[in-house]
């Protein structure tokens, strides 16, 4: 599904963020990318949804070289991928329902379908009773579940999550990971970047370890 081939990223043409990274992710995989802070996990994830461009190398997703995509085609790629950010990236002045619905509005889905799908998704992540709340009124765990709901509401084939449990306490982190497992069970490929190797070992048998920005150690 995704083939990362000899990808390197240098900031300002000098500071290395990633050096010569290669690996493959198959359809339906549940993959963890681990490594210490500064190893390049976030950079790698960002390159997978075109928020960053590799300095060299190629990223092939579903036979499309996304590292050379035209800027005008990037929104379409992003609409086919779900992304969960560590800082949630929710729009503060929109309700939970509106935040999730926005992912469908940008696809031109009609109002009735949006209502149905958002309702189902919020119910699935256990936030239906909070659908009219604004994100700042929610706990960290609830905000993360809203972000997950927004990422999965359009049934993406691939879900990327950057430190999705980084801001949560251990119990909430376990709950969120169980949610990801459930999403994976529905057929969605999941790639999670985390600095927590224990969690990675607990929830998946495919762990890609980034060390000193360039070593890849599939476990």
């Amino acid at each position: 599904m995704i083939h990362i081939h000899q990808v390197s990223k240098y900031y300002n043409n000098a500071i290395p963020a990633l050096v010569d990274v290669s690996f493959k992710i198959n359809k339906g995989d549940f993959v963890f990318i681990t490594g210490p802070s500064g190893a390049g996990k976030t950079t790698l994830l960002k390159m997978m949804f075109c928020a960053e461009r590799p300095s060299s190398g190629e990223i092939i997703a579903n036979s499309v070289n996304i590292s050379r995509m035209k800027p005008s085609t990037i929104p379409a790629l992003r609409r086919s991928i779900g992304v969960v950010f560590q800082d949630f990236k929710l729009i503060d002045n929109r309700t939970v329902f509106e935040n999730v619905a926005f992912a469908l509005e940008i696809m031109g889905v009609n109002r009735r379908t949006i209502k149905k799908k958002v309702w189902q998704t919020l119910k699935w992540v256990g936030l239906l009773q909070k659908k009219d709340a604004l994100p700042p009124c929610l706990s960290g765990g609830e905000q993360q579940r809203v972000a997950i709901a927004r990422a999965i509401v359009n049934n993406p084939r691939l879900l990327l999550a950057d430190e999705p449990t980084g801001n949560l306490d251990p119990q909430l982190a376990q709950d969120i990971m169980k949610l990801f497992k459930a999403i994976n069970a529905r057929g969605t490929t999941i790639v999670i970047a985390t600095h927590n190797p224990e969690m990675a070992a607990q929830f998946s048998n495919t762990v890609i370890h980034l060390s000193r920005r360039h070593s890849i150690e599939p476990c």
Binding site: F49, A51, P71, S72, P75, A76, L77, R78, R79, S80, I81, V83, F85, K89, L90, I91, D92, N93, R94, F102, A103, E105, I106, M107, G108, V109, N110, R111, R150
Partner: protein
């Protein structure tokens, strides 16, 4: 994307613009208020300019040249001069005033003090021609050329058109008009800068929202269009409120304003914006808001790209 989906998306963009105005009510009100203040100043300046122009036109309509004949002028000579002048392209209307008619007019204008004329042994007023020029020739230069062209030889004794007064008056109003125009242009540029910067601040305060939209996969137009529409709506609303303020002030002060105009300028014809002009003002507001948000959002979009 199918046409049906594109139409649905367009509908979301419009709805989103209205929702955003409501969600960011404080910011929207600040922006609209700024536009209102600036437009109130601009419209006031425009009204001043319009009224000055209207006054100049009214005054020009009343301008007439009087050709006085010698007391000894024969009727045939006066008829010949009248026909010669009437044949000129500048002349719209020409009336001969006999000495008797002139005396009657003078008596009427003395308003109850006409007794002073009773002691006169005979009518001292000469016959005259009152000439009204056509509109294109109602300028200082054209009047001067016309007067200079008339031969001041018998039977013509004198020609009067208030030369000094006319020159001073026209110079004053031309200067006032120029001042209004310069101030107006300056005010429009200033207004545009204020509005563009206010909208830029509004857009900038929502940069996180724009970034999130981009990360989720919203297309460029889907992000920008609601902002453009918001800018246009705020501009149009600001201009419309400014118009309402001016209409309110005009309604309250109309009586006093008309009296003042009549007292100082001798004209009570106060010109106000008509409906087409009001529509132009509102459209200008919308365009100003639109361009302000257009450049602000584009700049931010380029930054994220």
């Amino acid at each position: 994307m199918s046409p049906a989906k594109a139409i649905t998306q367009f509908g979301y963009c419009i709805a989103s613009a209205f929702q955003n105005l409501y969600r960011n009510l404080a910011l929207s009100l600040i922006t609209t208020s700024t536009i209102t203040v600036m437009f109130t100043l601009c419209i006031s300046m425009l009204l001043l300019l319009l009224n000055l122009s209207a006054f100049m036109e009214t005054w020009a309509d009343q301008l007439q040249i009087i050709v006085y004949f010698e007391m000894s002028a024969e009727p045939e000579e006066m008829e010949r001069v009248q026909q010669e002048l009437a044949a000129r392209p500048e002349v719209e209307h020409i009336t001969r005033v006999s000495p008797a008619e002139a005396l009657t007019l003078l008596q009427g204008s003395l308003d109850g003090q006409d007794g002073i004329l009773f002691g006169l042994p005979n009518n001292p007023l000469p016959a005259s021609l009152e000439i009204k020029l056509r509109k294109p020739y109602l300028t200082t230069e054209a009047v001067e050329i016309f007067v200079a062209d008339i031969t001041r030889s018998p039977p013509i004794a004198d020609i009067e058109y208030g030369q000094r007064w006319l020159e001073g008056f026209v110079a004053f109003f031309e200067l006032a008009r120029l001042l209004c125009l310069v101030l107006g242009v300056f005010l429009i540029i200033f207004t545009y800068c204020i509005i563009a910067n206010t909208i830029r601040l509004m857009v900038y305060s929502r940069r996180d929202e724009i970034e999130i939209m981009k990360l989720i996969g919203a297309g460029s137009l889907m992000i920008k269009f609601p902002f453009w529409l918001e800018g246009a709506l705020q501009g149009a609303c600001g201009a419309a409120i400014a118009l309402l303020i001016i209409i309110g002030v005009e309604t309250l002060a109309m009586d006093n304003l008309a009296t003042l105009l009549h007292f100082y300028l001798g004209s009570g014809n106060y010109v106000f914006l008509d409906w087409p002009m009001a529509a132009v003002v509102i459209t200008a507001g919308a365009l100003l808001g639109l361009t302000g948000s257009f450049f602000s959002v584009n700049r931010l979009d380029a930054h994220y790209n």
